[in-house]
């Protein structure tokens, strides 16, 4: 066992964990933040996407211990206390989710894409979502929502 202290959404969370504990398990079990999902646990689906120092990563393929000393941001950390962020509002507006299981990962990947200035057109957004799978929507509305969200954030 080892003591791991993580900065998650600006709050410190400390726990005594097995070195095998993945970042996603720490986020869900130790910090109780269940917005980050596990879709595959084999590094394919991106449902577990969080930010490490602002950069989108698959938290099922990072050990919790590796995240020590870095700022972890989850879907809870990018959601206002009240209402929705502009990107979340765009997902709602464009009907970009059905079961919603992939959505937190989609939002975290999209935020990284928008930060890098990479959400420029449909083709770029589709390329940027290669690490995020959705079994429901067929992606069309997710792409539309990200383009609309990027435009709203640029104005905002």
């Amino acid at each position: 066992m080892m003591r791991v202290t993580l900065d998650i959404n600006g709050r410190e969370h400390a726990a005594e964990v097995d070195p095998r504990m993945l970042l996603v398990e720490f986020v869900r079990r130790c910090a109780g933040l269940t917005g980050t999902h596990v879709g595959c646990d084999t590094s394919q689906c991106g449902a577990c996407t969080v930010h490490l120092d602002g950069i989108a990563v698959k938290s099922c393929t990072v050990f919790a211990a590796q995240a020590e000393g870095h700022a972890v941001t989850t879907i809870e950390g990018v959601s206002p206390d009240d209402g929705l962020s502009p990107l979340q509002a765009a997902f709602k507006e464009h009907h970009a989710l059905q079961c919603g299981f992939c959505t937190p990962g989609m939002i975290m990947s999209a935020l990284d894409m928008i930060r890098r200035g990479a959400a420029t057109d449909e083709q770029a957004v589709r390329a940027g979502l290669e690490g995020n799978l959705c079994r429901c929507t067929g992606y069309q509305n997710i792409v539309a929502a990200i383009l609309a969200g990027a435009a709203a954030m640029a104005e905002g």
Binding site: R20, A56, V57, T61, V62, Q66, D112, G128
Partner: protein, 265 residues
């Protein structure tokens, strides 16, 4: 996953000390290959030595005829680097086509080369560009580095610190990606080096990256796609799996090599 001990040394010397210890200690870079294989219990290291906190292991240096990429440089950083895009655009494009953005945000060049996955992209660039793998104690030419399936010339505990790429006159990488993972079903890297030598390296098609000397001779005589028209690669020894037969892969090598040469011109 089997249990292991986690270490995060702050210096190369400390890392080497742990790696020289008993059991089966292993370096951990981006974890994009090692963590999945540990989950499948295909690897059971006793200790993981996280290289992330060691200073000086990331970054790209530009010299007149060489580009040096430090081992812990992420695929995304290579893809976005203005120096790489300007001097070896094919290498930036290769890095930008590995897996997906989330994988590229973690995976490193050192990890990819040490792993030597038969379908990985970087080994083809290293072999075709005649790059050098720099470890703490020596420099290994590309031709001596890739030994077989997941096998390299690295000794146990030996760390890659840098990869040095000679800047070529022209180069191009063409990959037929597996649509799910984006690993190469076949990938071909063609390079015309500064001294005029031509090197063609193929990944994905066999147990280990390899050169196609017959293509190289023909292209040295005439660097044009037509030079390959009458040549083919034998299917013997190539991989057959659900993604493609050996004959299909042999055919793809020719097609992708012609595309890559056309792209260089």
């Amino acid at each position: 996953m089997h249990p292991y001990r986690y270490h995060r040394p702050g210096s190369l010397a400390e890392a080497e000390e742990v790696l020289a210890g008993d059991g089966d200690p292993r370096p951990l870079a981006g974890g994009m290959s090692l963590i999945p294989v540990m989950k499948h219990r295909l690897a059971a290291p006793s200790d993981l030595v996280d290289l992330a906190a060691i200073g000086g292991l990331t970054g790209i240096t530009v010299e007149p005829a060489t580009l040096g990429i430090r081992a812990m440089t992420r695929h995304a950083a290579v893809a976005a680097s203005p120096s790489v895009r300007e001097r070896i655009p094919a290498l930036a494009a290769l890095a930008g086509g590995i897996g997906d953005p989330l994988v590229r945000n973690r995976g490193t060049i050192g990890g990819s080369l040490a792993n030597n996955d038969p379908a990985a992209c970087y080994p083809s660039a290293v072999l075709a560009l005649d790059a050098e793998i720099v470890t703490a104690g020596r420099r290994i030419p590309a031709d001596n580095f890739f030994l077989g399936l997941f096998e390299t010339a690295l000794e146990p505990g030996e760390l890659i610190v840098e990869v040095r790429f000679p800047v070529p006159a022209a180069a191009s990488y063409r990959k037929f990606p597996n649509p799910a993972s984006r690993f190469s079903v076949v990938g071909v890297f063609v390079a015309r080096l500064a001294d005029g030598a031509v090197r063609v390296a193929v990944t994905g098609a066999g147990p280990c990256v390899f050169r196609v000397k017959a293509f190289e001779r023909a292209l040295a005589a005439s660097f044009a796609p037509g030079a390959l028209a009458d040549l083919s690669v034998a299917a013997d020894g190539l991989t057959s799996d659900i993604h493609g037969s050996a004959a299909y892969r042999a055919h793809l090598i020719g097609v992708l090599a012609e595309d890559a040469v056309a792209d260089c011109a």
